[in-house]
Symmetry: C2
Subunit: 455 residues, 2 copies
């Protein structure tokens, strides 16, 4: 019996095992759920042992543990480092869930639970694929190392340290992550570009304390106004970022990339339908798809100052603040970009105000080559199972581990996702389509088999 | 015995009566203090009867009552409408009071209590002056009508209606209000200009709900950014308001007014010392005193949008809002000014956003002529008691009743204050200087006597 047939015969078991994992509330950000996170890690250890993986261990970090396993008997074949995360987001607002987030429930072919798509369902795709290969054939076509993290939803705070400390036992040829979505059930999608992030907070102060607007208004530079004046100088009228040097390191999009991106069935009409926006905005020389995925951006994430309650309070506030984040493309360095914004804001600030820029977060973007044997194998595997070749896309968001694997281990990642755009990640009623779960298992098996023939 | 001597002999009684009134917690905004507000009104009825006033009545409104009284036997002499308010502000934060706000306490010549300066102390100035005149001479040198309001601290919400309904029994030649401060204990001050107010809220919307900044950033006009872009177009670089027509109705300052204002010992150094500001701001062709009192302003009172908690949330918000108020000078109509800002914001708004402007509050400014017999009498009275002629000033704040008296009854107001700039109005440890209380009583007596000789 081959692995695909084995997987087909064990679909019910695959569903049951996924439900088991989904019923563990492994919310990494909540201290009161610490034991559940541990429980999920121990559950995975048993699962990986049951599948036939070796050297299965729970590896402590300063936070939640890393689960490691390997199978290294495919002599001459390449080695794949499979990364996934078993921690999940919080569930509030709980009253918006149609069924309890940790009581996995099947409706219309979708399994509803927190973590269903992000990332327990996609993690189990690989556990079940490895299980099917090992149970049906007694071996794997490639060497694999498995790395399941418990802190992805809190920024992978201890992962880099762990990767550096375990560099040797992580030696591999390529990394494989299923933690993304495909464009539609019929259109497989491989993410090859992820944006980086620099997140800062800007504080403007014009006086020592709040004042009466009738007593001092007109003679003190209002800090809200001053902050708005600074913010209004961060973009030009067409939406280009005006911070000096901001685009210096941006690698221009190649014609081939732009052609591939033009295949994505997404434009202004789809954008407006999804968001309810009145009109698209942004750099006119780039398409909507390019703007949201392949171009760097500078966004206002929050602003606050003065009186924000009901009614009319005549306060002249002393300070105002904003949160600003930049999505960065390779090779923009997040620390350098934050510093450029800081310098620019200070340079344009008038002498009536004090400007303070605080660093909140930095993450590197990543761009992986699409012409490698692993990418080829992934494309072929998708085509075999879905009947369609994948579209290669860049995504606007960030998956910091992709950059960590690149920078610390020299590994390019194949981002082979099986979620859908409407899976409600980080929101109530998260779901995973069970048909895509099983197609995912088959695609993973096909990938391991095809990639095993490389070398 | 003349009235001044009588007042001097009855200082202790004047202090005791003021303490009595200050011990009643007549906070108009708190429903649970409604009975205390009533109690204060009834206390005043007894006090006015005791002083010898006639037709003393409590007049209900839809909110707190108006106390009315008169004495109209000064044949051939003018009639003065004395306005004051007996309600007070709330007392929070209570723990910042050195002594209990409704247990009047004497320290260093100041009586500490909520309402001490605003406005019970200044109200009692007139009750005691009328008492001294009537007890010592059996008559008043002018006709008086007394109008004590219980809703000034909640915006005098029912006063205009009451004024219109009682127009006949409010017939007078001038209004007199003691609800302001003098520049220093030796420098009497008459306020002749009060600014009006238009208060609006601006809402900018760019999409139907909050979005992920990595998914849509770069293709949606960020509403915080858009709001900031609008706000940055409300002033030019020198601080002039750029709303078309904003200055059209502004009556230019006369040279005489500017000379009088230049006498106020206040400039950039004092402004910076008081506020901790780094540098003064605003219309360069006007002095600091002119900017904060005689020029119209447009201030940002609050702004909010997106994520404002701790840390980094990568939200692209759907909306952002700001509170904006304008201080207006005569003859700027607050409704018209709000409408001009609304039209301007809509005109400059790009097609990527929806702008909604909500009216929150409107109040008319007032400017009273300084060359009238009543002003002359007030100046002379101040000089007699303080040894200094008053400075005539405009004030940046608003006292809406002054405009109501002007618009509804055709009465100009003499604003003869006895508070000090550091009386902590609306703040913990409000106080009234008892020496100024007694000087106030003597000044009021002198005013009634001098104004009684006019005709």
């Amino acid at each position: 019996m081959n692995a695909i047939a084995y997987a087909h015969d064990h679909r019910q078991e695959a569903d049951d095992r996924l439900r088991d994992l989904l019923s563990i509330p492994s919310i990494s950000t909540l201290p009161e759920n610490r034991e559940s996170v541990e429980l999920a890690a121990r559950w995975l250890v048993e699962e990986l042992k049951g599948a036939g993986l070796e050297n299965v261990t729970i590896s402590p970090t300063k936070g939640h543990p890393v689960v490691y396993a390997d199978w290294l008997h495919a002599e001459g074949a390449p080695t794949v480092l499979i990364y996934a995360h078993y921690d999940v987001q919080p569930v509030d607002p709980l009253d918006e869930w149609e069924t309890s987030p940790f009581d996995p429930t099947l409706r219309h072919g979708n399994l509803y639970a927190r973590g269903a798509s992000d990332d327990k369902g996609q993690l189990m795709v690989h556990v079940r694929a490895l299980d099917a290969l090992l149970q049906s054939t007694g071996r794997l076509p490639v060497n694999v190392r498995v790395l399941f993290e418990g802190e992805e939803e809190i920024g992978s705070v201890h992962l880099d340290e762990w990767l550096e400390a375990n560099r040797e036992r992580l030696a591999a040829d390529v990394a494989l992550i299923s933690d993304s979505h495909i464009l539609s059930p019929d259109q497989p999608t491989i993410v090859y570009g992820l944006r980086g992030l620099a997140y800062i907070e800007v504080h403007v102060r014009s006086a020592k304390g709040d004042m009466h607007s009738g007593t001092y208004g007109g003679a003190i530079h209002n800090p809200i106004q001053a902050l708005c004046e600074l913010i209004s100088q961060l973009h030009d009228e067409e939406g280009h970022i005006t911070v000096p040097g901001f685009y210096d390191q941006v690698v221009p999009l190649s014609e081939a990339e732009r052609r591939e991106m033009a295949r994505v069935p997404y434009g202004e009409a789809e954008l407006l339908a999804e968001t309810g926006a009145l009109k698209a905005w942004g750099e006119p020389e780039y398409t909507v798809t390019e703007r949201v995925s392949a171009r760097p951006t500078l966004e206002l994430n929050g602003i606050w100052g003065g009186f924000t309650g009901q009614g009319a309070k005549t306060v002249l506030p002393a300070k105002a603040s904003a949160k600003i984040s930049m999505r960065l493309v390779p090779d923009q360095d997040p620390w350098q970009m934050a510093e450029r914004v800081r310098r620019y804001l200070r340079a344009i600030a008038p002498p009536t105000i004090e400007v303070d820029v605080v660093d909140l977060h930095h993450g590197y973007g990543a761009l992986v080559p699409t012409d490698t044997p692993a990418m080829q194998a992934a494309s072929d595997a998708y085509e075999e199972v879905f009947g369609n070749r994948p579209i290669f896309v860049r995504t606007g968001g960030s998956i910091p581990v992709v950059s960590s694997l690149q920078r610390l281990l020299g590994l390019d990642t194949v981002l082979m996702g099986f979620g859908l755009p409407d899976d409600n990640l980080h929101a109530p009623n998260e779901k995973f389509n069970l048909n895509l779960y099983h197609k995912g298992i088959e695609t993973a098996i096909a990938f391991y088999e095809k990639y095993g023939r490389v070398s």
